[in-house]
Symmetry: D2
Subunit: 384 residues, 4 copies
């Protein structure tokens, strides 16, 4: 039995790895270990750990590692805290492989702990290009990782250019597309209105046209969050459709985005807007399949959006460099530009499905590869 340990540090992490966890749990040759960490443990981020348990997974360890503050300072400190504790946990769980997801700051703790401890490290979603510190994190983790599971061909090529052994690179698609595909297959299921009514602000009738706004902090533009979110809110007020507004993820700068939203609300400009924290992935994907346009800088617009065909207006630098389909229009933090782009997308309507980020089979593919890989040489060596 090969012990595969997944460290889940956030809601986004979980939806990006859940289909792998499901496949690994079902595989006879693999023993799945789950470490829940960082914001995945916290009520105020929607208690992802409870969701994981509800989905039938057992939690092997819980690591509280978020230092309060949501600044670049505390982001570094939180990573340090995780890096101090994970060795104790890896020593206890003795995994054969550690699987880390994507490019969030807590991922660095997982990657460094495993690599330093000579535990083979598998990494999903490497090789992509984006803005923020995630861009550096992602490629640094690639340099620590022993097995790579990029989401797209372009990403795989980039990993190989980074000097990784081509035999260690497996293009499998993004595991989150597995969930998206599954949800869309059950298209007849209605929306869970209970979930949608939570949060504050006006209620929205999701059978009529509506817009979504999901805009997160750009860590490398720390301090500019209030202006950034305000431009988007202004644009959407002009559009006039109801808006489902999502609170930002926990990141350096997210407090600014949140403050921008609060100021907006308290200034009495929030007619027709509903504010929500975290929706179940299922509900979120269904909304993406219905919305007239998704505005902001969430990677879901570019990744899930390609698969679903959601019209997306991507604002600012957070996703710059990421491969994208025809469904995305890029604009700067400018209310006029955002308004124009949203109008164009509303006019266009839903796009065709584009499988650049996977076709819905990543979880199985990753699991099979992990089960079949016999000997992983821990000593890495750059290819050039």
């Amino acid at each position: 039995m090969k012990k595969v340990c997944v460290v889940v540090g956030s809601r986004a992490n979980y939806s990006s790895i859940k289909s792998v966890m499901r496949a690994a749990k079902a595989h006879p040759g693999i023993q799945l270990q789950v470490v829940a960490a960082a914001s995945a443990l916290l009520d105020r981020y929607g208690s992802v750990v409870k969701l994981i348990e509800k989905d039938g997974f057992e939690i092997d360890a819980r690591v509280h590692m978020l230092v309060e503050g949501e600044t670049p300072h505390t982001m570094a400190k939180s990573t340090g805290l995780g890096l101090m504790e994970l060795p104790t946990i890896f020593d206890y769980l003795t995994p054969d492989v550690v699987l880390t997801v994507g490019d969030r700051f807590e991922t660095v703790a997982t990657a460094v702990a495993a690599a330093f401890m000579n535990i083979p490290l598998a990494h999903t979603m490497g090789g992509e290009v984006s803005g923020t510190i995630d861009e550096s994190i992602r490629h640094a983790i690639t340099k620590f990782a022993h097995i790579h599971f990029p989401s797209s061909k372009g990403a795989a090529e980039r990993i190989i250019k980074l000097g990784e052994d081509p035999e260690s690179v497996h293009v499998v698609g993004c595991p989150r597309m597995d969930l998206v595909a599954e949800i869309l297959r059950r298209a007849n299921d209605g929306l869970d209105n209970g979930e949608l009514k939570r949060g504050v602000g006006d209620q929205i009738d999701f059978d009529k046209p509506f817009v979504m706004l999901s805009q997160h902090a750009v860590t490398t533009e720390f301090g500019q969050g209030i202006e950034q979110i305000t431009a988007s809110l202004q644009a959407l007020r002009r559009i006039g459709l109801p808006v489902m507004v999502f609170w930002p993820n926990a990141d350096a700068g997210s407090e600014d985005i949140a403050r921008g939203i609060r100021i907006w609300r308290e200034s009495g400009n929030a007619d027709g807007m509903h504010f929500t924290k975290n929706l179940p992935t299922e509900t979120y994907i269904r909304l993406m399949a219905r919305t007239a346009c998704l505005v902001g800088n969430s990677s879901s617009g570019i990744r899930d959006g390609a698969f679903i065909g959601t019209p997306v207006v991507n604002v600012g630098s957070r996703q710059s460099g990421r491969e994208r389909g025809a469904n995305v229009i890029d604009v700067s933090y400018d209310a006029d530009a955002i308004t124009a782009a949203v109008e164009r997308q509303i006019g266009h309507g839903r796009y065709d499905m584009d499988p650049i980020y996977g076709d819905g089979t990543a979880g199985e593919a990753i699991t099979r590869t992990l089960a079949e890989t016999d000997e992983i040489v821990v000593q890495k060596r750059i290819a050039y």
Copy 2:
């Protein structure tokens, strides 16, 4: 005044950055900040911090971050501890640039803290190739760094292949060669015999032929240290010349190397051998200019040895992949092979000077570049 903060975490770190510190301190446009950390603070590694102060530098902060154990586990944990504290210190010192050295584990804490906090990160000795976890660390730090100061052309090319902006890569040579060059220029100065008599074991007459043994732990071969050092000791006993044996650096596995040496001594095999902890760089370099052969896996054999022309027998995988001059013979952990190679080197004698790792001007070049670089874009972007 541009504030340049250097984090010095070990004796090796210090000798690899001292000439930069000296040049930076003297430069009118730069305010040097020095953080002493990890083994640089500890008596049992020769109290490097006192040496730094004796050399005329002021210490701005001290970070005790070594968790006892010297295993891969505690190496990760120590890095986490550093990563938790450095943000407090960087917030206090508000450096304009953080300068990190090489590829030791504590360097990861410096690099991640600075990069996460949007402080431009400069990195020396990137782009090289070696064994152990250093290989992964070095390239990962490159992916976090904004300015690169590789030691050799080959290293610079590798950094660019890693997707870094060629304009951010400055081939300056290794700053340690600056010290080596300076010491060799003062060739008439004698050896400091006080220093050399410290330690335990038989005394050596350094005016007659002698051999040096400096062999460190290979973190990715954790658990094999006793056998590895024993093969070298056996070979040198056969050679019969006096041997200056150096205790290993603090690393995962160094306890095994040390135990191997202790067992050797207690078994009564140490005739003609002297055991020493840490020599001043000056004394060490002078020994390298006199020794009949340096045996082991210290990078100094390959780097300083190229400049000095020291005959070197490099044992095992720790330095594999590193560019080397004609002065190095590579062998495996095998007493016979080591014996044969040492005999060949003793027969050959000193080699010609080879400037692959620099010509002794790196400190000035790095300082000038740091002083002249105006705007550093914190947001990185892979080149492909």
Copy 3:
């Protein structure tokens, strides 16, 4: 110059030590050092650090040490984080005395770090009796402290009974009373309505009768917060006067209290209620001088209330054991009991001033004692 280092970890900490800081700063024989830590650094607790700077103090170091979660688990972890960092800071600042305030969890980090490092530790507000883990923390810190500044005679007697040297115990009153006295002396200054209008909910006319509710988590009754706060809210709805409701302090369990408040609001029961985070001490004290009754379990009701004469209904166990004046009626977590007690207090009106917690001269007294104490023997010895 004697270096006196104060570690301020929260808003409550600051108001309990500010008058000492002011006197120390003005004293020619003392150099004041200020470390801002924990919730004192955070926006969401009202950025106390900015207030400290606005009051003219310089911050010597900032220690982010709050691990997110607000559970007993993270309270312990946060203390550990503080204890890991404070040695670095104390080594840097080399204080002659460390001054720690009261009995919050972060205080343990300050006390242990100073005592372990052989730095004389001064402690205010020891010897009192209360509920929650604070009860254990307070007496444990007394056992680490070298100079004691209790607020009341009863507290001083208790410290001596704990085996402390009577010569090290100085009854000076609570420094917070210094602020209270000063604010009441400027009684003609009006309320700052800008501050009071912030927050959410209905606006209150403070020239007419109103009630205040300030109820915090009881860490040793973790998990019961929602019921506890709900009983108080129900009682106050029956009373019918406008209510100024304060969000709870950061403590294990505060999330439950906050959730109880949010549920109450979202259930539409919050007519006439205003919800506020943190008022400046000045404004808070003025409200206490006007309110018809203060309900909850804040120590301010018992301490400041005694000096001001505020009618107080103290709910539950959090303050049990604390010396109190005639102005306090104690009740359990029971809506009926709370209602009856509030009605009695409204009928009674303001009480006479009672100096059990000090007469407004503590800051000067503590400063004088610290300046005059020559030699502090670091080695403690229990008196029996």
Copy 4:
């Protein structure tokens, strides 16, 4: 099944709690949990964790928490590290009671973590009086603990004076006496000479008269260790009997003691002296039953010595205040005074057994009490 979690942080810890662990493991109503931490995990302190496993106990978690340096600074930092990790482990193990031993610095981490997390805390060896920071630590832990197991009646009285509930105080004797009693009962077993021959220096014939020297750092006299140990070594050279010298425990200042010993050896004064790290408790106790005199400041001289009747010369302040039997002569750090006292003890020979620290039944008594205590009220309250 009541889950009782013991945190073992050092060799001394283990021998002070082993008989409780044995009894708890055998008790049908108790599930024993063992956390190995701090120096108990380290090779250079004799790998106590392996000993624990060899004795048949399973290790539930391992916490590397020693920050290198052995200064007051790193002692505080190490405690912080432990306090950061233990919450994760206690959350995982969900103990019903945490049992902490004595008064070493790592014990503070255990006590604070358990108390903050509302886990009932049992404490052995409270209420005693000694020098160093242990004196403060011990009484502070008493103020956090819910069940007290003092070793002597005097200690029990002191705990009650500290304001603890008399019903929570159980005089059981020191569990280490259980081991001592057992070893003495098997008096016919010979010494394990293999163990005794390890270490360095001259070999000793233990069938002839010999002296033991076990002297540790006094944390509150940090910086004076070299002089302190040198006085003792000088005295013993004058006595002329063979000396078994023990390296010091890991504590702030132990590096100084060790250096003093190394200087002594390297100065060629070590004729007839043997230097050893850690003996198994069994071997150590047998030596104490044979030695002409035990010199130094180990608590074993006073505690075990009372039971065994060992002639002891106790040097300096480390044990001052501790109850002692007739077998102890106290002297200052003065070579003449030490010489005279040792001569007197050699003249006297072995003393009668004195049960002040227990009669050999503590392990059973503590286990029974823990098993039978039904409800522990987590909220403490000082008795006066």
